[in-house]
Symmetry: D2
Subunit: 341 residues, 4 copies
């Protein structure tokens, strides 16, 4: 069986395991106060071209989203997100669990538009009953989005301008950030993201780490006593060095970018493969998630030998399915798939 | 510098790293639906002699405590704990963050007594104003406690009887469970714990794993949709197999017990060493945390070459300090320490 | 100035004040354990034709919604509501504050349809990723809705059937229930509501009381220790008798229904008045809130002498405005208005 | 039967009912934006000698405590309180429900001491593990306390100094504030309280109102968007004028102080009566709650004709009971009691 279900099917990039083994019996202080964490943070600051960035490591994405959002919002505020945003749709209500509403905006292939955001915020602040409503206190975007799409630099800049005009932070969920940055169809760099966003996270879980995300506060805006907040949310790893070491490895010699580029190459090959065989794309995704339209009959047959995600029905006899590549996708997987389609 | 600060200074037992490397490129489903997790659960069930146990893996202790306690309590209930319990004292209010009060009982070296518990519960249920109070909905104990002490089988049995009489679950925090089970001064086995407790967790983070805890629901009492609750609490690891694999390794060929026994042996040697040199124990701990009384001057001097925890002042010129051994403590560490004291 | 802004502009029906004065120096136990509360509950049970109903009094609507919803939902569940539902739009995030998501459905003039609800629930339970989503644990409707519209008996019955099929409670927000029951265009009675809903509240604040709402649990489904939950939510009134006495008065000699009928009569007159003068209705509301289309210029002029609510813009030069009548609306108010339009 | 159970057995001072009736059919805007609320606030500012005070009206005490504490604390903070404080003991966990821990201090007859507070805060800030603990973010005191005792001006001043040194607010729960201010044994005035506290509330429910409390923020420290927070907590009364009118009445011609003084006079008479008949006081309370030691046999007998509160057992055959007077206690009640003891 060949698996294209997601980008977190394997363990970690071998270099990470090598360094874990190499440093295994060293004794270091806990909770992120170790040298590896410090080194990783320095490298990430450099990669972001943001010397003042304040960085914390967490274990997973939902945890990170709930922590960041709850920490930056006041009690009377909610977070604006595309209706399809991960925080709105697929985190079991983790944001609401912390007491905050997700304020949904319409989306276009997972993205929100500056005009929708602007209209929404203007409308809110004009409404005389707003003290009876949830204040928009933050904007959440994912990049790549849940549809694998990307914001352009202009789009990011426009969203950022609006947020700064309203003095609310722009938060970018970068669970798959590497795949976005290495896309063949983007003009957005990591320093751009650090410049436009008030806070974002660099995803490790889906991009070569065993697990781990790096939260980047870009503008001296770390919530007070953030370590206590990490602990309170159950997000403070005792052996913090394991997170530090993984990110130190990923940000040494551009490993994070190289392995992301590999996933993108594989995704482009996969897309090309489907196109050449006459299949139709549901949308032309620029990242590692590819959405293909298949006949329902064929889906059933293919599933005997390949595993992938069912996305949604298209019409009576066809559906959209998703194939994800990753840092670990091997050429032989694509070869095998090619023979089956 | 030699470190005796805690039992989570190193990485993981080498066998765990070996298996992580060995299985690294395998593709498995996420969120604990993999074969390694299944295998680990089966082995833990056997070790607990509790075939009906339902088991979930989480990343860390505070996360686990907040999740288990919040999931098992009703909104109007709190959790009874020793005043010194980790959930009351050192989790940054993670329990209250989920909406529940910790109801503190007096402690004796970290332990609560059946008589105090019984009096408290009886008093609560006799109080006519109890609808204006927080209902005791669960009892939390740690074993070993924060003072390294252990409940006897009789004590556990008595607490269990009281909880069952009041129909509230007894929850045991086993962050250092291995060190408790392998103590030279205990009559409590893992099956005993499974028998007396309604839910407990087997600590991995402090006992040989990179990280990870195994929650054991012993009596068909898993909260409905517990996976959703894990997700909501930010505690559902995407690559769940990493947890499964670690516990599978720890519960293969009794590794968990062997490495725990090693830590105990080292702790007993360390204690003996101090006694023989004429130092006074603050208390005679049966587990891997040893509490020694030292002159303040000597503490300062010793800290130049050895790292350990300051516990509390004793009198004007003496203090209590804590030395912790672990699965990774080497004989050479003790030898070095011996020369310095 | 004449006010048609809302139905909570005046104090209370004079009979309520009379009885408050009459009983003022009586000494009664607090927290709802008094004779007036008991009597009121008995009368409400009779009016609902639901002898087993369990009834509690609270102070206001948002408080009631948050309390009922939080008490009946599990942690992993949210409440389904029309996007325009009061709990979704105008309660400052009070539901999310208790940890629960509002799951929005499309609406038609404030109402949800059985087909939308059914499709949503079926879709949820077919989704294999549902453990990562918020479970629909309850359905919230308002009757009259925020648009003054009413469900028919068939519509209520259909929603009720769906809820019972999925074993989730149907909760009806009756902030303006009297005005719904006395509408000239309804076939729904109070016993119907008690029959179709698992829980609902009878609004007092907007229907003749100084304040107060009566929560009715219709089917032995009161959450355990509901008094403690009331207290925890800050919703337990010390002098509970003031609530009891008000509802006792409202449900003596059908006062609640009579004063509601008066508001409806006034609303029908008002509507007729506008129609006869050639104005266009935005919608033909069957209850005490009437939505009229006015020229923007005329709105500005009218506001100098009459106060009413701006609802929403219609086109470049016209807007929708809302006039509300109540139990206290006097004929002279309508006469005055008639001269101005 | 004569009742001395509490100070909220009757309705309201007749003058309040008179004004409610007098203004009943006036139309006013909701949510506290009315003239009566404005007038009441101005009078309270004058009474507090605090022209900059910002004032909000709420319905009840538990609601007020949860709202104020939650609004002023950061997520990582808890509130320091005497172990016997109402927020710690008798509010069904309403504080924890908002996510915050109550940090208990020892008490002496319900009061905390400056030295205990100071030692606690100093200890916290010296603890190197404090990021794993709950930060003391506020100090809660009640005045009168749950034992009817009062802080002296010096004691209040000392607590205030400590709070200001640590830059955390001092919050005073004045559920029975009138009875404290009118005590024959106090040197504390309302302006003193406004000077020493950052926020406090003036209790109406127990001092002549039907219900209602007045929150006073004394130093430009109202949380942003406090109206939204009121709404979110279910504490925003639709007909806010009913609160405004009650406090306007209480603070006209010193009514609040006069009726409080009456309760104190009655309490002193009652105390004297017991002393003269040879009974022993449990403590010499300076306010409207008197704690008397009675033989258990006599308690049972007395309860046939008088209702009062059982406080706690004293020894095998005696117990402490509480008699409360109020603004409404009549001389004939005391006469009747005198004949029975």
């Amino acid at each position: 069986m060949w698996y294209f279900d997601s980008d977190y099917l394997e363990g970690a990039h071998p270099e990470i395991l090598r360094r874990l083994a190499e440093t295994n019996l060293e004794q270091t202080p806990g909770y992120g106060e170790d040298e590896y964490s410090r080194s990783a943070k320095a490298k990430i600051r450099t990669a972001c071209d943001c010397p003042a960035a304040d960085i914390y490591f967490t274990v997973g994405g939902t945890q990170t989203n709930a922590l960041v959002i709850d920490s930056l919002l006041h009690s009377y505020e909610g977070v604006v997100s595309a209706r399809t945003g991960h925080v709105n749709a697929h985190e079991s209500g983790a944001i609401e669990f912390t007491g905050h509403k997700v304020l949904p905006l319409p989306h276009c292939q997972g993205k929100i538009s500056a005009s929708d955001l602007s209209a929404y915020l203007a409308g809110f602040w004009k409404d005389e009953n707003r003290e009876h409503m949830v204040f928009p206190g933050m904007v959440y975007i994912s990049h790549p989005t849940e549809y694998g799409t990307l914001y352009t630099k202009d789009e990011l800049s426009a969203l950022s301008d609006i947020c700064r005009a309203y003095r609310i932070p722009l938060y970018l969920d970068g669970a798959r950030l590497g795949y976005g940055l290495m896309s063949h169809h983007t003009d957005v760099t990591l320093p751009d993201i650090a410049k436009f966003c008030d806070v974002f996270y660099i995803g490790g879980t889906k991009v070569g780490a065993l697990f781990g995300e790096a939260i980047v506060f870009t503008c001296q805006n770390t919530p007070a006593h953030f370590t206590a907040l990490l602990k309170q949310h159950g997000a403070l790893l005792a052996k913090g060095r394991i997170l530090g070491l993984q990110f130190d490895t990923l940000f040494t010699d551009d490993l994070y970018f190289q392995i992301s580029a590999h996933a993108i190459d594989m995704a482009e090959l996969l897309k090309e493969m489907f196109i050449q065989k006459g299949y139709e794309l549901f949308m032309d995704s620029p990242t590692n998630q590819q959405f293909i339209i298949l006949e329902n009959d064929f889906i059933e047959k293919l599933q005997n030998e390949v595993s992938f995600s069912y996305w949604e029905p298209l019409d009576d006899h066809r559906s959209v399915v998703r194939f994800a590549t990753s840092w670990a996708t091997a050429t032989e997987q694509l070869d095998a798939l090619e023979k089956l389609i």
